[in-house]
Amino acid sequence: MFHLILFLFFGAVCVAGAVNLLVQSHPINSALSLIVVMASLAAEYLLLGAEFVAAVQVIVYAGAIMVLFLITIMLLNAGKEDRTKGSRIATLLGVPGVVIGGVLVAWVLIHRSDLGTVGLGALPGDPKDIARLLFHDFLLPFEVTSVLILIAIMGAVVLASRPDAIARPHPIPPVSEEERELAAAGKDR
């Protein structure tokens, strides 16, 4: 019972954080709401019994990725965003549309799906189970995913480096006499 209350509480915190993310006008506040969403999701996983997934959620998403978000926002020094009133059509059609869509998804999930339900604390959360899934049952998809991430990293490196650095991998030979001496002494300018 206590676990159920906690589960509902963190669910509410998660939704509140997600709504706050959209409402806040300052990017830092939005990023912080996203951290709240991540952390309460981790708490939900923990309550469902998936301890390992919860810990990884905190370490990877809340602890590492969101820090990078935060650094980017801090470096760009992004200020408050300008608010427009928004179009009337969006309010007239969008809000009922979202409500209808949400109800439809919930209805389908409850009545028409073959997915079983899982009790609180019943998910297999042991690191050994997850390791067996990742490195035994789903080894090929796992490895393919890692190659995919490697490609993304290489793409990021190519995009971030200056074009002349790619075209000329060797350092430009020193031009002036002074530079030549410094280069010979192994020093940088």
């Binding site: 830092i28 301890e51 990884v56 370490i59 809340a62 590492a64 935060l70 801090m74 690191p127």
Partner: protein, 341 residues
């Protein structure tokens, strides 16, 4: 438990001042109590009664939240750390059975089977305290300090985490109690079977170096390099808010020392002798002694090594420590796999 940790934090400040003083051929605090032992209390009272300045240019909600975040995450991580083995408290009657069962406890608040991951998760959240303090202070020194701190902490977290994997492979568990229990016993009756003597020496040094960077201590104290950044991310903080950052830093040092003790130095294992009561107390004593030794080395290193340059710091983390940690994982995994065959 929080009381014990905060006392430990206060006295590690005293230890730091004393040891630094003796390294520099001074006396350190001597006036308050014998050997200056009451100095932490005097400092605490002073922090509480100082004027708490809030500059007009700060972003107030985050400026106030940042020290709270830092100190809360620093203190929470102690909750899963075991500091001793099972302790018998006394005989007790169980139900109607005639025999006396014994009542006792593990010296740990909660035993979770992923204890180590929880510590890593909580400490990784501690970055936000520093980063937000730097940003919300709205001053250039604080911002630079905050940026440096967050970049440094997420870089060294990688090698810190990877250096622990070798130990995890050897013990086959994420529970801190199991990891310690796997280190019981000795080689040739002399050398304790601690992980640091058991093929994980390299991992131990990688962990130690990354831990210094994680806690922003010299030689990696660039986030608060006083010669260039005034005081870094906590430049604009005063009174108790500053004290909270101070407490968070020392609490993190204690946690990191505890983890090093548990994973590499055999936790509470040590020679046991004497009467029954002494045998119950000795494991806790060994544990505290090892943690104390780490705190001492922290101070020792502070007055021995000069500060890194920022590019050196990043190059060292990514180009030296990370490959070494990865090589250690491969090596350990190979040895364990070959032995299992």
């Amino acid at each position: 438990m929080i009381g014990i940790l905060l006392t430990a934090v206060a006295y590690s400040v005293w230890l730091e001042r004393k040891v630094s003083a003796h390294i520099q051929n001074r006396w350190g605090p001597t006036r308050v109590g014998p050997f200056g032992l009451l100095q932490p209390m005097a400092d605490g009272v002073k922090f509480i009664f100082k004027e708490d300045l809030t500059q007009p240019h700060v972003y107030k909600p985050l400026y106030i939240a940042a020290p709270i975040i830092a100190v809360v995450f620093a203190i929470t991580s102690i909750s899963v750390i075991p500091f001793g083995n099972w302790v018998n408290v006394g005989p007790i009657q169980v139900g109607n059975s005639p025999d006396l069962g014994s009542w006792g406890t593990y010296l740990q608040i909660t035993d979770v089977n992923i204890g180590l991951l929880i510590v890593l998760g909580i400490t990784s959240m501690g970055v936000y305290g520093v980063a937000l303090a730097g940003w919300s202070s709205n001053s250039k020194y604080a911002l630079l300090g905050g940026l440096r701190a967050s970049a440094q902490m997420i870089s060294y977290e990688v090698s810190l985490g990877l250096s622990l994997v070798g130990v995890l492979i050897m013990s086959g568990s994420l529970s801190l109690r199991d990891i310690v229990d796997a280190q019981a016993g000795r080689f040739w009756y002399v050398i304790p079977r601690w992980n640091v003597f058991h093929g994980q020496t390299l991992a131990f040094f990688i962990y130690l170096i990354s831990a210094y960077a994680e806690t922003n201590r010299t030689p990696f104290d660039l986030p608060e390099a006083e010669s260039e950044l005034v005081a870094g991310y906590h430049t604009e903080y005063s009174a108790m808010k500053f004290a909270m950052f101070f407490m968070a830093e020392y609490a993190n040092m204690v946690t990191v020392s505890c983890i090093a003790t548990l994973l590499f130095l055999g936790g509470w294992h040590g020679p046991l002798f004497g009467p029954h009561l002494l045998q119950d107390v000795l494991p806790v004593f060994w544990f505290c002694l090892k943690v104390f030794a780490f705190m001492f080395i922290y101070v020792w290193v502070r007055w021995t090594l000069p500060r890194f340059r920022y590019d050196q710091l990043m190059a060292f983390g990514w180009k030296v420590l990370l490959p070494l940690a990865l090589a250690n994982i491969v090596y350990t995994a190979l040895v364990v796999a070959l032995r299992a065959q």
